[in-house]
Amino acid sequence: MRLIHRSHRAANAVRTVSPSGELFVTSIVICMILASFGDAVDPNWIGEAGLEFAFFDFGGELSVLAMRHWNLLELLLAGSVMAAGIMVLRIVGGACFPPLDPAAPGGVEKVPIKL
């Protein structure tokens, strides 16, 4: 039996994780996949193919950003920055474009839709 299974919240982490925690881990996983993408593309090959190719190729972009052979600390840091950026965008976006509230079911402004 694992120690984490003594806690119900930890044993069901995929259900009990907070939205911000989930965003943080998702960002780390995305960075890990991007780093493997960077590893898959050889910058020497990009050099041979030409700089213009590197500008338009996503793998090349990652290689240009030196996202090759990143270690876990770099990935965690990049994931944190990405999560913070998305959080700020969400807050600013929510402030600039407030979500629309549905009209009350019996309200005069409710548009009846019939199929």
Partner: protein
Amino acid sequence: MELELFSGAFFSALLAIILIDLVLAGDNALIIGLVARNLPKESQNKVIFWGTFGAIAIRALMAILVVYILAVPGFMLVGGLALVWIARKLLTPQENAEENHLVKAPAASFAAAVRTIVIADAVMGIDNVLAIGGASHGSILLILIGLAISVPIIVWGSQLVIKLVDRYPSVILIGGAVLCWTAYTMIVREPMLVAWFEAHPASKLVLAVLAFSIALAPWYAERLSESMKPLTVLLPAILIWMLGFEVASSFWKVQTDYLMATTQGEYLLDGLRWIGWLPFAALFLWVRERLVLRNARLARSPQ
């Protein structure tokens, strides 16, 4: 590969080891309690001491062994595949508290109690030691530090770990992701496959996405609607299909890249690679739909 001391890579491996120790720690205190509960009071203290000592000794022995085992060609690949499965199991929600299958009944004697504790720790610690072996990149120093961290968790730190993961369940998700990343790096470092991955660099990306899609399936399946649930099977299956063609092209020396294809057969083979999985995916979805409908009908029908 020996890591440079106190470099970024060294601290990264150390962080991975700490996370792995946290999420894969076994509940030794519970095992000791279960085993020793029927023994006399004076024997209980001896069982606690020698059981803990035996558990630490067996963990150290396994950690040393795993370094040598992972150096054998093929074992890095097997270990990596095992870690993907361990990460998946870690993230799979547990509806009820897991029964402890390692201890069937309280021990009747001191020797039997210590033996049960040591065997239980060995069984519980296999995944932990394997993951630490993979994360340490063969560095004995990191293995020792990993042991130095896991031993206090075994002896005193259980309540602290439980409090931490209970307050921040995202630690489990990070642990799963780190296990999966370790598995990916282990497979890519496999001596038998290094040259192949150099020749097929895009396969590294496919492998990474495949590993994450299998290991993190319990997590993203929770966020998918019922109609999108088959994606948890289809996505890994399509990636395995693609990877299979890449491997097959190496074995049978056939060209599966349409840019380099010259014969009609090679063009057909490439077409098969890109769209050949569609009939299988359609068949899978059809069978699944039939099974869902059948189960719903059975559930509705009177007993």
